[in-house]
Symmetry: D2
Subunit: 345 residues, 4 copies
Amino acid sequence: MIDFKCDYSEGAHPKLLEKLTQTNLEQTAGYGEDPYCLKAARLIKDKCKRQDIDVHFFVGGTQANLTVIAAALRPHQGAITANTGHINVHESGAIESTGHKVLALPSLDGKLTARQIQTAYDDHFNDDTHEHMVQPKLVYISNPTEIGSIYSKAELVAISETCRKNDLILYMDGARLGYALCAEDNDVDLPTLAQLCDVFYIGATKIGALFGEALVICSQKLKEDFRYIIKQKGGMLAKGRLLGLQFIALFEDDLYFDIARHANKLAMLIKQACIQKGYGFLTPSSTNQQFPIMPNQVLKKLKESYEYAFWQKIDDTHSAVRFCTSWATDVNTVQQLISDIESVG
Amino acid sequence: MIDFKCDYSEGAHPKLLEKLTQTNLEQTAGYGEDPYCLKAARLIKDKCKRQDIDVHFFVGGTQANLTVIAAALRPHQGAITANTGHINVHESGAIESTGHKVLALPSLDGKLTARQIQTAYDDHFNDDTHEHMVQPKLVYISNPTEIGSIYSKAELVAISETCRKNDLILYMDGARLGYALCAEDNDVDLPTLAQLCDVFYIGATKIGALFGEALVICSQKLKEDFRYIIKQKGGMLAKGRLLGLQFIALFEDDLYFDIARHANKLAMLIKQACIQKGYGFLTPSSTNQQFPIMPNQVLKKLKESYEYAFWQKIDDTHSAVRFCTSWATDVNTVQQLISDIESVG
Amino acid sequence: MIDFKCDYSEGAHPKLLEKLTQTNLEQTAGYGEDPYCLKAARLIKDKCKRQDIDVHFFVGGTQANLTVIAAALRPHQGAITANTGHINVHESGAIESTGHKVLALPSLDGKLTARQIQTAYDDHFNDDTHEHMVQPKLVYISNPTEIGSIYSKAELVAISETCRKNDLILYMDGARLGYALCAEDNDVDLPTLAQLCDVFYIGATKIGALFGEALVICSQKLKEDFRYIIKQKGGMLAKGRLLGLQFIALFEDDLYFDIARHANKLAMLIKQACIQKGYGFLTPSSTNQQFPIMPNQVLKKLKESYEYAFWQKIDDTHSAVRFCTSWATDVNTVQQLISDIESVG
Amino acid sequence: MIDFKCDYSEGAHPKLLEKLTQTNLEQTAGYGEDPYCLKAARLIKDKCKRQDIDVHFFVGGTQANLTVIAAALRPHQGAITANTGHINVHESGAIESTGHKVLALPSLDGKLTARQIQTAYDDHFNDDTHEHMVQPKLVYISNPTEIGSIYSKAELVAISETCRKNDLILYMDGARLGYALCAEDNDVDLPTLAQLCDVFYIGATKIGALFGEALVICSQKLKEDFRYIIKQKGGMLAKGRLLGLQFIALFEDDLYFDIARHANKLAMLIKQACIQKGYGFLTPSSTNQQFPIMPNQVLKKLKESYEYAFWQKIDDTHSAVRFCTSWATDVNTVQQLISDIESVG
């Protein structure tokens, strides 16, 4: 069985493991205050072309999301998200667990628009009874989204302007950020994100690391006392250098982007095969996750050799599924999958 | 200006005030452990024809809702509600503030159906990743709903059976329960509710009291340590007898139902006038709240003499509004409103 | 049986009930936005000699405490209190329920000192691992304290200066504030409190009202969006005018202070009787609560005619108990108690 | 500089790293549902000689503590702990952040006694106003304690019996459990813990792992839906096998205990040197952490060559400090430290 089910099926890219092994016997301070975390933070600041940002490392994305949102909001404030947003559907109520409502807006492509955000904001404040409702205060977007689509620079600029005009905090969940930044139709880079977002994270668990998300805080007022809240929510790793070391390996020679490009390239091959076969998609994706809509009997056949993720039922005879590629995906296995897609059905 | 805006614009029905005045100088224990609270609880048990229920008194509905839900759920569990449910829209995130997600299902008439609940339950547990999602555990329904509709006995029996089959807790918000129980098309009574619900409350703030909601806990396992949680959430009134006394006045001679019938009757007059004029309604209501859809220019005219609540925009020239009646509404003012509805527009 | 157990055994001072009755049929807006609440707020601003304060009304003290603290603190911050503080012992964990640790400091007389606060602050920030500990941010004091003692102006000035120097929020729980302000050895008044505190409340549940605490917010940054949080925590009374009306009755002719003086005067008679009999006290109190330490066999005798509150065991033959007076306490019953104290034992 | 400051200064024991490297390219399911986690759980069940326990893996101890306590308690319940307990002082309010009060009892040696627990329980339930106070429900103990002492079997049996008699949940924080189980004066083993505790964890972050704590749930009613809550609190590692693999390496050949014995043996050498020099200790410790009380000028001298942790000021000229050993501590560096302790001062 070959696994296209997700992009975290293997361990880490060998260069990261090597780094951990080489430094294993060194003694360093704990809790992210070691030289490696400092160096990794410097590398990320350089990549973002901003030295006044704060960088914190997390083991996972849910932990990052709940910590950021709990740190940013007052009790009566909530987080706007697309209804497909990870915080709305796949974190077991992590955000609500910290006391905040997730304000879900409808979305077909996984993205929010500046207009939607402005309308949600206006609807709230124009209502006479707004003190009886949750106040929208933070806008959560994922890039790429949970269904593979990416934001253009123009879309992000519009969202960022809307947020600033209305004093809303813009937070980007970048669990798979590398794949977005390396997509063929992408026009966004890290310095742009560091200008447009108040806070975002550069995910690595799904791009080559054993685990690790680098949170970048750009907004001055979100920085204060942030480490207390990481600790309180259980997110402060004792041997914090494990995070710093992996991010050094990923960013000192742009390995992070190499991995993302590799995975995207293979995903495009799968996409093409599906297109040629006439299959539609849940939404267009130029990143490492592809969501083709295929006949159930084709899927049944493919299941004999491949693992993929069932996503949703489309009709009685068709389903949307997810095929993922990663740093560890081999071009030969992709070729094999493609040839099976071509021949089956 | 005559106020049809809400059903809590005045103080209390005079009989309740009288009761408070008569007993004012007596010394009693605090925190709901006085003889009047005990007597009121007994009256309610008798009305419900169940002696094994627990009765607790609250000052307001939001307080009751958040206390019940916090007491009933474990951290990963959420409350299913219609998207129009009070806990979803008008409690400033009170439920999320206690850590729980509100799981809103679409509804046009303010009600949930047994099938919707079953589907939500099945969708959750059939999902491979259900441990990554909030577990539905409590079903919150309002009767009458926030837009005036009521549940039939058949509907409640179906919902209750679905809840029991799936070990879901059924909670009815009865902020205006009296109006439902006294509606002309109602076939439900208190003993039936005490059989079908795990917990519900009999609201009085909107039916004649200065304030007060009597929570009825029917399910054995929801009873344990409930008073601790009332206290913790700030809901334990020091001079608790004020609640007991008002409920005695409301229930010892069925004043509660007299008030509800009076208000419903006047609301039906308003409803008829709207129907005759050809106005539609947001949803059919046989209770004290009417939500006619009227031309904006008619509404503008009525606004010169009456207060009503704007509810929602229907189109560029029409809006849905709310007219409320209460114990304090006079038949003459209603006649005047009706004649104005007839003559305007 | 004559009740000296607490100061909330009766209903309201007759003038308050009268006010409620007179206005009962008027129609007003709900949720504290009526003319009576506005007028009561103006009266309190005048008494405080500050027009730039915000006044909000609560039904009870626990509700006020948890709302203020939840509104004021970020997740990692806690509230310093004397170990005897109400929030530490008698609110069923209401503060922790909103996510915040109560940082209790030892106190024999129920009071905190400026030095204790400074030391707690320094101990935190001087610790290398302070990010692993709860950050002290709010100082909670009660005046009078839970055991009847009061703060002098000099003590409050020192505490206030310490708080301002260290950017700590000073919050005074004034559940029985009137008794403190009218104590014979008091040198503090409302304008002083409005200068020294960031936020405090003027309690009335225990000084003549059916219920009611008037929260005064002096600090600009605590004012923002406060009503959202009142609503979220279940503390927004639908018929809010009931609070406004009672505070008008208490403050338009200084009835609040008359009541407090009356109760204090009677308490001093009880105190004198105990002193003459040679009984010690848990702590010196010049307010309406007296905590004499008496032989158990004397207490047993008194119990035949009077209710008092057991407070704590002192040794095998002595206990500290509480005698309370209130607006409703009659001088004759106090004389009777005194004569029994003199004759028993 | 040689680091005796803590036991998590290095990476992992080489055998663990090796295991991670060997399996790096394998594809497995995520979130702890892979074959390695299953195998590690089986190994731990075997070591505990109970097959009916549940085993869950965490990245860190604070995460484990807050998840267990949030999963176990209802809103009004709190956790009893020694005042030195990690949850009381060094988790930034993690427990309170989930809504629960930490009920700290005084302790000089870091331990609780069965009698203390019984008294705290009785004091609560004997109080007339117990519904106004936090209900004790879970007992948190650390073994070894935060200051190195360990529980005897007799002490644990007494505590366990007290808990069961009063329906209290017994939870042992085993961040350094191996060091306790391998101490020369220890008479407890894993099967005993699995009988006496309701839930405990076997810590590895401080005993040879990169990170990892194996939580063992013995009590049936704590097992339900536990994975939801791990996910909600951000504690579910995507590549969960990293935890399973490390615990396999630690338990398949008893490496865990070898490491603990090694560290303890070296710690005993340091202890002896201090005793011979006439230094006292904060509390007697037979585990890898030693807390000698030494003259400040001796400490100053040692600081030139060694890192240790300052613990607390004893008087103007003496301080208690912590020396830690671990799997990575070399006997030669310990000999060097000892000889310096002997020669200095």
